[in-house]
């Protein structure tokens, strides 16, 4: 009974937010529309990372690569060929997922930190190729002026396009997390040894998790191109990977919506504090330290802990 009320409250809350997001472009300045669209893109990227890190327990340190691969795929296809736009939009995530499959295939053979180190190295390899291959990728100049169909070439058009795709991705990701596969992935995070003992081929599930997550990172890359119409080599640089990792930590990496909050905080800080000082990361750093000390489950995790007793205790026991 109590639970039903909580759920119905949530429903009202979500519906309210949705309406605000839909009518937002009608009454805020263009700049804020752009910032919100950027937050959706970044949130999707952070959530895709959270799927492997928070739910899968894998140290995917260099996740931005798949974001970049998705973005570059669509940018290259639309500038170097005359293929229809939608093919590029579909190809982006698929190529990203395929890259995830190849890198992941090697990484799942290792565990924990070794997984992370190999992942960084292989990811940096792709960054180096993109960064150096001037003739094809434009090197550190990136690619600019990617043509977009007229319907999403205006800012409001791209805002709605990004919002719709973002919401669809949220629903699909939520379904995946709540599916048997999602439970199994979380079980692997909690205890991979026990998972093997109950008949789960751990590596195969980890790899599938990586492929799904990198697919969504690719979607985020495509959405970025839809918003900015350009790509840069920085999109595949490890600094961005670190940034999205921080977003997950900040928002709460065991929660579904946490990374959205983390992404919103980071984008807002970069935009509004970054305007006054290039040391905006200092504030981010201080916030992160405070979160780690006082809200080890992240901001969202803290609030979730209020509703779900036991989680905190379980984490603390896990640390021992």
């Amino acid at each position: 009974m109590f639970k039903n009320i909580v759920y119905s409250k949530w429903f009202g809350f979500v519906a309210g937010i949705l309406i605000v997001l839909i009518i937002l472009p009608l009454f805020v300045p263009r700049f804020f529309v752009y910032i919100f669209a950027l937050i959706y893109v970044t949130s999707l990227l952070a959530m895709s990372l959270n799927m492997v890190v928070g739910y899968g327990g894998m140290f995917q340190f260099h996740h931005a690569v798949f974001y970049g691969v998705g973005a570059y795929t669509v940018a290259l296809m639309l500038t170097k060929s005359s293929m229809p736009t939608w093919i590029g939009f579909i190809a982006g995530p698929i190529v990203a997922a395929f890259t995830g499959l190849i890198i992941g295939w090697f990484c799942v053979r290792l565990t924990r930190l070794y997984f992370g180190m190999l992942q960084i190295s292989l990811g940096s390899l792709i960054w180096a190729i993109v960064f150096r291959w001037y003739g094809f990728t434009g090197g550190d100049d990136g690619i600019h002026g990617v043509p977009m169909p007229s319907i999403i070439s205006s800012l409001n058009g791209s805002y709605y396009f990004i919002l719709i795709i973002f919401l669809i991705c949220l629903v699909v990701m939520y379904m995946v997390i709540k599916s048997p596969f999602g439970s199994t992935l979380q079980a692997i995070r909690d205890n991979s040894q026990r998972c093997e003992a109950v008949g789960i081929n751990v590596r195969r599930y980890q790899l599938l998790g990586i492929v799904i997550a990198t697919f969504f990172a690719g979607v985020a890359g495509v959405l970025f191109v839809a918003l900015e119409r350009s790509v840069f080599a920085e999109m595949l640089f490890w600094v961005l990977s670190l940034e999205i990792f921080i977003m997950c930590l900040l928002g709460g990496w065991f929660t579904f919506a946490g990374p959205i909050l983390g992404a919103a905080i980071t984008v807002a800080l970069r935009t509004f504090v970054g305007r006054y000082t290039e040391y905006w990361t200092l504030i981010l750093g201080v916030m992160l330290i405070l979160v780690i000390f006082f809200l080890p489950e992240g901001v969202m995790g803290f609030f979730q802990g209020l509703f779900k007793p036991g989680i905190k205790e379980a984490t603390e026991r896990g640390k021992r």
Binding site: D190, Q193, C195, A197, V198, I200, P309
Partner: protein, 244 residues
Amino acid sequence: MLQVEALHKSFEDFMAVNGANLTVGKGEIVAVIGPNGAGKTTLFNLITGALKRDKGKIIFKSEDISELPPYEICMKGISRSYQIVNIFPRLTVFENAQVAVLSHQRRSSNLFRPAKTIAVKETRNILESMGLLEKEKSIAGSLSHGDQKILEIAVALGNEPELLILDEPTAGMSPEETQATMDLVRRLARMRGLTILFCEHDMDIVFSIAQSIMVMRHGQTIIQGTPEEVRGNKEVQEAYLGGE
């Protein structure tokens, strides 16, 4: 049902298992006893594939399983619980058992149906038979040690094993909990027609419920026989029972 022959396993220079032999017949309750460090847990790790044996044979239902990875051995019908609690601490009690049930039903890779609508009956059945149903929504990591040990067994049952291996199921439990757990194990074995292989330090328990007892020392099998035979064996008395 399970036949272990001349099994060897060494870690660097240390022979953890050095010629273990074990026979487990269908429907039997078999205990492995021996002093600390005798190689009981290593033996179980070898049977379930968590470790690779150096030499010897492990035959389950007339098939050699000694080269198989753990998840395949589990699919063949061997499930185990651990001496040190080994559950999924951040998942709920229900989800803990469900992970195993889903795996057994080969539905773990289902991506788009909500997990809470799948295999609910089977999972609840197991929790009910273990007396954990009231706590199904609790986070496993927050349970008491005794409950976690019971959940351990519940997870192992999720795979509907034919052979259930219990590594010190009552380690760290109070005498009352121990008694209740062993009653539970006995009842389960009868109800589900399980074959049980377990190890345990409490000799009263071992001699009261095991139909066959295997004694290990320095990684070696001294004897396997009925409780009477084991009790009467001179070597065992010297090596183990007399020492206490």
